[in-house]
């Protein structure tokens, strides 16, 4: 699904976090959002599924069109937006006391999408999609907290995939993980981008280079530059981008 962001301005209470962001993200493929801490990249993806308004004082102006539909239109309820746009967070956040199986099934149960045998099938398929099935197929009844950090994050990805979203938002999904788990998550993203529109926030530029076809650079709440990832890193157009990717940026 195509995402079109038009004149997006975002606030936390009185302080403005994003200034007039305009961006089009094509259907399928992965887009990386990079930038220094506090540049607004997480805020930006949280506006794409209306999670920003869950923060006290969070306010959004502008339009986000998903396949032409403005998700900020008055008639749209945020819970249906989130139902179709999955999200994976920075810190793995499985429900710690619930079983591995229940963690994947919870989205289906909350939305009343499947039960019984169909539910089991979807859970298995989602865990396979998230490249976790082999490791947990004999541990489905163990609590999610018994899994390693990398496994927990893939469990969260499986949970997001189980309700068949059209778009997958990932907010620094590997930043709390070790290099091997990071590698596994990146492999997974390369697989997922074939069938989903993936938007991934990362502070790791090598990671952007490895997983994303397109890269967008944010600085101090403004979108500075966007482009095809190869070109973006080899021939940045803007001085700020060049400073940032060459590390000359303070």
């Amino acid at each position: 699904m195509t995402i079109e962001v038009r004149h997006l301005n975002v606030w936390y209470g009185r302080s403005q976090a994003l200034y007039d962001v305009n961006l089009t993200i094509e259907s399928q493929g992965a887009t990386a959002i990079i930038g220094p801490s506090g540049c607004g990249k997480s805020t930006f993806v949280r506006c794409l599924n209306r999670m920003h308004e869950e923060v006290v004082g969070g306010r959004v102006e502008g339009e986000v069109l998903i396949d032409g539909v403005n998700i900020y239109a008055r008639s749209i309820q945020p819970i249906y937006v989130r139902r179709h746009i999955g999200m994976v967070f920075q810190r793995p956040n499985p429900l710690p006391t619930r079983s591995v199986f229940e963690n994947v099934a919870i989205g289906l149960r909350l939305n009343g999408l499947a039960r019984g045998g169909a539910l089991k099938e979807i859970v298995e398929r989602s865990l396979k999609q998230a490249a976790l099935w082999g490791e947990v197929k004999d541990r489905l009844n163990e609590p999610a907290s018994a899994l390693s950090g990398g496994q927990q994050q893939r469990l969260c990805i499986a949970r997001a995939l189980a309700i068949e979203p059209k778009i997958l938002l990932m907010d620094e999904p590997a930043s709390a993980l070790d290099p091997i788990s990071t590698f596994e998550i990146e492999e997974l993203i390369r697989e997922l981008r074939k069938s989903y529109t993936v938007v991934i926030v990362t502070h790791n530029m090598q990671q952007a280079g490895r997983v994303a076809e397109k890269t967008v650079f944010f600085l101090q709440g403004r979108l500075i530059e966007e482009g095809e990832t190869g070109r973006f890193f080899s021939h940045p157009e803007k001085k700020e981008t060049e400073d940032y990717i060459t590390g000359r940026f303070s």
Binding site: V56, I79, G86, F89, E102, L110, N111, A160
Partner: protein, 300 residues
């Protein structure tokens, strides 16, 4: 400055603390704080142990089957028991929980999840004030609104009075523990398209359940020992009674009455009753923890 330098020169070992005034004061204050906290703890524990042992010594010899099954003997006569008081206490605390736990729970949920701005501030302040109000006031409230219109003391009035005492305790502890549930868990559920209420019911409350249960148990234990609000509501009753529209006996009431009796047999039974009350509260608290803990293990 010069003096300090001269003092430090003979020190060969750099890890040897210099004997400056500052350093000595530092170590002394450290030791004083440690000793004080140990002393305070020891004092508190000794008082509690003394109390428990005293009740045990004075009450245990008079614990027998009759105590649980018989009605109180007429003044000055031996034998008899506290049957109606034990039955009444169980009914009263049950009634209070039936009424106070849901109200407290939902108030706590409101305060933690939905309450923002001036109204929530007001509610929170009110709940805090309610926690500090002398419990006899709640008894007076139930007396005015239930006992007077019905023209009789009743178990119902006692249960309502105790229930109102439970509300702020349950509400505040619920609010506190719900606030401790990490934001990430709520986001996990919201990002899946769950409504706020589903998120609270299926994710937030289960994550906080042990804390909420602790709050409920505390509130139950607290009202199980209340005497003052029952004086003008449940009133007391020397006979077995499970009709909540009639006066009802309660352990604290019976202990209060017997403890100031001129008859040694009744004083002894007051001690036995105190012991029963303490054990009942302990048992209920263990039972609730065990039941909910067991439920969690198999339920998820």
């Amino acid at each position: 400055m010069k003096a300090v330098l001269e003092e430090q020169q003979p020190v060969v070992n750099p890890f040897q603390a210099p004997r400056t005034a500052h350093n000595i004061r530092r170590r002394a204050s450290n030791i004083v704080i440690i000793v004080l906290s140990f002393l305070a703890t020891a004092f508190a524990v000794i008082v509690l142990l003394f109390l428990l042992l005293y009740v045990l010594r004075a009450g245990l010899p008079y614990i027998n089957l009759d105590l649980f099954t018989k009605i109180p003997a007429p003044n000055g006569e031996p034998g008899g028991g506290l049957g109606p008081a034990i039955q009444g206490s169980l009914i009263l605390v049950g009634l209070a929980s039936l009424f106070g736990v849901p109200l407290g729970l939902f108030t706590g949920i409101y305060l933690s999840e939905f309450g923002r701005g001036a109204i929530a501030m007001g509610v929170r302040f009110l709940v805090d004030v309610l926690t500090g109000v002398p419990t006899i006031i709640f008894g007076l409230f139930a007396w005015i609104f239930i006992v007077v219109p019905q023209q009789t003391f009743s178990g119902l009035a006692g249960g309502v009075a105790l229930g109102i005492i439970m509300i702020p305790i349950v509400a505040r502890t619920t609010e506190e523990v719900l606030r401790l549930v990490p934001k990430e868990l709520r986001e996990a559920s919201l990002a899946l398209g769950a409504t706020e209420s589903r998120t609270i019911l299926t994710v937030v409350i289960p994550a906080a359940s042990s804390g909420i249960i602790t709050g409920i148990v505390l509130a139950m234990a607290r009202v199980a020992g209340e005497t003052a609000p029952l004086l003008m509501t449940a009133f007391g009753n020397p006979f077995f009674n499970s009709d909540i529209t009639q006066p009802m006996d309660a352990l604290p009431l019976r202990i209060f009455n017997f403890a100031e009796s001129p008859y040694q047999a009744q004083i002894n039974q007051a001690y036995a009753g105190s012991l029963v009350l303490i054990v009942l509260i302990l048992l209920t608290s263990f039972a609730i923890r065990w039941a909910t803990g067991g439920f969690r293990r198999q339920g998820r």
